[in-house]
Symmetry: D2
Subunit: 359 residues, 4 copies
């Protein structure tokens, strides 16, 4: 938690003194060093980053630069080894690649069981399905709520798969906790800080999607919210950012995968479905993410997408999903990872140093 205060060239001695005094007053340790032209003052301490805005307003200060990242528990410095979660016997993170699949929204018992069976057969290890859907329009289908959660729980139990579902309101954390195995925090709620605090108080895994305009630091700070409450079971997900490109719904920032892996020990997934918005693009983007080293992908699958109540155009058909799983499996191995296939013993694999790539 260090910052550097760069004084203007030729700043007065008084200005330097004022900064040093203020750094001390703020509970930080000042480390001034007088150069030929400029004085530079290091400031070290827990609250250094919080002091940045105040220090940059003092007279004679040119710039205040942060040297360390603002997140702590989420950082590689804090924990060097990859976090590996155990979710009902499924291992997530490190060399383990998991594919989360299922329909966008839980529309009916029948569809969820159908799709669930298909994705399980193809090798998916976690079942997804939305009961509370955040929709841009107040007039769109917003999910079946608790009824959907009941169907999800039943499907998960019958198929023997852990389940994930989105929670959008702090008031729903309790009920979602009761029915699902993993909390999903959607892109639009990535900075719903009270929601993060609530799921942080539970002991179930939290899957945080990157916001449309969130930097990687922002995403890791949201993880920090959960971690700071004592819940260390956090997974991250790159799902496309908003850029000028209109050709896809969002722009999948595939480089977020290795960048996050360098900075954090948390597993990072990709969501090719929401990034693409179009099913033909899902396989190439899914493979791109796995090739870049992702800990898995979350893929929307639907047995009758042209009647889906939500995001049908991006849902993959079960048959194509099975073919995609096979390719994912092979690409994962090429980068030193291994896909957790449902129901098959998970051989111990080790990610080679350097993440499997030749750096």
């Amino acid at each position: 938690m260090d910052i550097i205060v760069v004084m203007k060239a030729g700043a007065a001695a008084d200005d330097v003194k004022r900064v040093v005094d203020r750094v001390t007053e703020l509970g930080l340790t000042p480390h001034p060093s007088k150069g030929e032209f400029r004085t530079i003052i290091g400031a070290i301490g827990e609250q250094a980053l919080q002091a940045q805005q105040q220090l940059e307003q003092l007279p004679g200060v040119d710039e205040v630069m942060a040297i360390t990242q603002p997140y702590k528990l989420a950082s590689r410095e804090f924990q060097e080894a990859d976090t590996i979660l155990d979710i009902k016997g499924i291992r997530v993170g490190g060399p383990h690649v998991n594919i989360i699949a299922g329909p966008c929204a839980i529309e009916s018992r029948e569809i969820l069981f159908d799709v669930g069976q298909a994705v399980k057969d193809a090798g998916a290890s976690i079942l997804r399905g939305g009961a509370y859907k955040p929709r841009t329009s107040p007039y769109s289908f917003k999910g079946k709520g608790k009824e959907g959660l009941e169907i999800l729980k039943e499907a998960g139990e019958e198929l023997g798969m852990p389940t994930i579902t989105e929670v959008v309101d702090p008031r729903d954390v309790e009920v979602v906790y009761e029915y699902a195995d993993i909390f999903q925090i959607g892109a639009r709620n990535m900075q719903n800080f009270n929601l993060l605090l609530e799921v942080g108080k539970t002991d179930k895994p939290v899957f945080i999607k990157r916001g449309l305009a969130a930097s990687i630091t922002d995403l890791l700070m949201s993880a920090e919210y959960v971690l700071s409450q004592g819940n260390h079971r956090v997974m991250l997900c790159e799902r496309g950012i908003r850029t000028f490109c209109e050709e896809t719904r969002f722009t999948l920032d595939v480089s977020a995968v290795p960048v996050i892996q360098e900075r954090s020990h948390l597993p990072v997934f990709i969501d090719p479905s929401h990034a693409a918005g179009k099913r033909d693009l899902v396989p190439p983007l899914a493979l791109a993410g796995i090739a870049a080293g992702a800990a898995g992908a979350i893929v929307e699958v639907h047995s009758c997408p042209e009647r889906a109540l939500c995001d049908g155009p991006q849902a993959v058909l079960p048959d194509n999903f099975a073919k995609l799983m096979e390719q994912i499996r092979q690409v994962a191995e090429l980068v030193g990872h291994r896909v957790t296939l449902w129901g098959r013993p998970d051989a111990t694999v080790r990610r080679p140093a350097g993440g499997g790539w030749a750096t």
Copy 2:
């Protein structure tokens, strides 16, 4: 609520029939028209936009285009005249320009009263102050909560100014309702749909800030959430979007002001403070927004910004705020608007047709 289904050149008659049937099944009225090369099918009905995703997946369909906007109650078509709110006798919208001012966060009774008196004397008509602060870092100051609300209420009453404060959690709507006059929905909560629904159920004005990556349509859809619950007292605010520019904290999209005014009857403010992130930029951006026709600005003012617990670098000093108010007053008049100055009778003004500009 119209959409146009454009069939591929040379699409089979069967494909066309399937689309027409599906349009009917979805409760819409189809209007096919066979061109020389292509068939185009208009589809009209309340749920047309909801049908878009399903129709674009049918065989032979090239593209489905929306002709109408997805928002209804927020649109100029729904209400041609500008919405003019009456907030404790202050008129907002139409030709009335209001400046909302105060500190970023309510830090102490003393600072809020000091700053409040200064901005009132300078002509601000509404008092701002944050009690619940959404902060990127879990380790930053997050506001004084209910204690802050009490100070705000007291200050508003003593100064005779309506107050505005941010609400970040549906669970806080009740308490904020009790203490403040206007709900502020921050940029990071613009798509916190449950929060929008909750404030939509009240009868107090809602001030919605545009999200960092929100299109203007997204913003108007968030307004629609509030309006659809029966609360018609909505104000909008452009506060800067996230772009590649690093020179300012965000990029103030000043064109959002006239674009929103063309599409919607709701008043649109600008927030120069958060866009700039730096006090020197606040006056030029505030004037730019007023010159572009904004219904007002929300400006952070602090009497001792280098000790502010939040966003000090962008807070304007009281003296400079007074000078800025004078310039705002003059620029507003040049575009046919009039600033509501606290405590002075508000002469009836009319915005000339075309918003005061020579189009």
Copy 3:
């Protein structure tokens, strides 16, 4: 080349007539169709897109929408089969994956020969090296010019590899033509239309990099400039776009690969080096691009990057490049492609329908 003029609901018959007349006057064939509420007028003809701006200004017109893309020769409609180039016996495009490698700039004969030998041994099929470097600063190293070209030619001949180098000025097209095998048009010159016209008049392949803020349509229109002059040997390259993300130099838009492949028959490469700006990110991004189906990658390799005069931080070391080549080879095969390895017979491979993915 079709457009649709959507009239406002309730537009006057006169307005409709005026549009129809104008469409005719502009040399297009109008196809009006009167719906219950709106009239829609299709307009077909070579110059339809050029007419768009004029038509949208006529009274009663709500919107003018393009149904077809503005590019023609670059489109899949124009040529369904993948373009496969033959460059000195190397086949590029279709199922053939080629890796272009070498230093950013040609700094000396020695370095180019060293690096060239290394990348050839590793399997690269084309040698890169810059003689004219566009640099943001007028004070940076701008390349060795003609002297660099001479070294490049010599190296290409000795190694038996085709060469590629950037051309930045229409006045240099002649000299670059003489010395190199492929013209590279850099991101900053993607819309230097006169330069595109000049290389379009030659018979050597042109490798066009996507601009920092160019849409995919913009990129294909730049290809169209070259194609329209009679030069059909065009290759495209995604190299990262400018977004709000500061964690990488640019954001590699990996979805551009499948999107372009759907719309165009031209081969599309990726440039992981410039997107990343950092060598550790080059392998994951290169593999991501190949997994997404790219026709190849252009990779910067340097034997002593910390002394490179340009972009050293993103240059991969020769040893690591060799390991990366091996992974690229395997990932390519998984998606039905085959890497052209220098000096080995190129077995005939066929890309499976659907690009090798399970769509």
Copy 4:
């Protein structure tokens, strides 16, 4: 030209020594300062910024930060007073506000003379008209070339107005020099460095538009290219950047005006026409730019925009332009500027300290 090399916490003494040696070898003066946990090494010298990429690759280095900006001649540090150009007796920059107006392209003698007379009567001081038009499509109207230049020169002489026209090719610099008074460098050529060098070798003013994805530093570096050749007559122009917003053609970054003014002595204009893409938005954006302190605006005006061969939808009609000029004049005065009205004596005005704003 200073940089700071921040060593990793606990970096070895050898690593520090290696950096210090390398800094010296690169011709810079090292200023190491050993803190409790980290060592920081300042490096000062002309080539410091060029050394950044090399130093950041050395072992033990955490980060290399630039403290100074990469431009020199364009900076406020180099020249504190505003640059004021004299263009045929018209003063540009400082407190002088100039409106450049005319049609997008020179289509005919008649239209240019008509529009020219109208904008002169309204108070515009400089006449614009394009002879070489960079167009996204090879099939669009690309201007009349030299014939257009001849018409422009004639119009400028008859009306007594200086003229501005775009140059897109280094080979055209000579002919444009002969016929026009100001070189315009368009957004797409802002980093056409050879073109910048060519106009930098002349003695005529250069008006550089910001690129679609250019940072403010990029823009000032392009100015530096011209300045470094000895041509000090440079004007800058913000014309909208590419963002995710689809509601306007580009997003006018109005904050670029005060940001550039703080960093550079060069006059900065705004182009509301290209940013908006729609004539109704031109007046509010023009006024916003002037209110933010711009040195002027460049506005497209056409007498018959629905027949314009280029960008008709954004052209303002002559009558509306006259009304806009009147508003511009008043807003300019409010911020301490004065519009140069054609043909009227230019009273000496002084911009108040702080740019006319209350900072």
